[in-house]
């Protein structure tokens, strides 16, 4: 159990760093969605299924979609 959780936390940190250094904004949004998804799994492990559900639906799905729609209207690559 502790190994799974530490692996997920490391993956989450990697996703967070990747989201901040990617120049391709779509990739950055996907990495941020990965952070949300792992956060929802961790919430579930911490026995907060309510929060996990909200995080998975809003953080991973809706926010990423809204960001991608916004990127389609502007520029894909950061200078």
């Amino acid at each position: 159990m502790i190994f799974i959780v530490s692996f997920l936390v490391v993956l989450m940190l990697v996703g967070a760093v990747a989201a901040s250094i990617f120049r391709d904004l779509i990739s950055a949004v996907i990495a941020a969605a990965l952070v949300s998804l792992i956060a929802s799994v961790l919430f579930y492990f911490l026995q907060a299924p309510d929060v996990a559900m909200a995080e998975a639906a809003i953080g991973a799905a809706l926010t990423a979609a809204i960001f991608i729609i916004a990127i389609r209207r502007t520029k894909r690559y950061e200078e």
């Binding site: 309510d50 909200a54 809003i58 916004a70």
Partner: protein
Amino acid sequence: MRRIISILLLVIVALGISLSLAKIPFGVPKTKVGKHYINEGVKETGAVNIVTSVVVSYRGFDTLGEVTVLFIAAIGLGAVLSTVRKKTARKIEPASLVLSTGCRVLFPLILVFGTYIFIHGHLTPGGGFQGGAIIASAYLLIYLGCRERRINAKVSMSLESLGGLLFVVVGLFGLAIGGYFLTNFLPKGTPNLLFSAGVIPIIYIAIGFKVGSELTGIIDNLIEES
């Protein structure tokens, strides 16, 4: 120079946060009210899910405020986007057959799951916000997979208004019958049954409809724009 100052500032902030977190005992109950919710929550509200009894019953007025914040955000987005909307009809490229068929099969299942989440909010984890978000993600799937389909904006807006109205009306009924806003005036019934916990399922159904149609409206507004 600026870099050194910012690093110094970061170190000071991290030190302050870690020192104050170290003072908080972990895993020890710190408040009496939390104990009261856990021990008396089921008896007082009839909801087996303690989170729901806090969100809808003990802190129901705060929930009304949260729903209002979401409502104002959706209205603000709609107002901002309506000023820049262009009227040209765009040619929509249809998605492939596999994608559109998959979306059409998955859509009702996700919809039923979202509805289950908010109707059973007082029994199982979840509730109006979670169910509404899941329903909105089902509509997002339809927007991405079957691109020629559109929701009826009038229906979604009236559902949203009806949900908010139902919440306030139930609260005012509680004020008239029990003496304070959102009194649980219906019989509480046996815990663990679907028809239990008085007004809590009604309020959660209202919240579910409201949040679902609001988030769907936000996605609808944004996709129309792009």
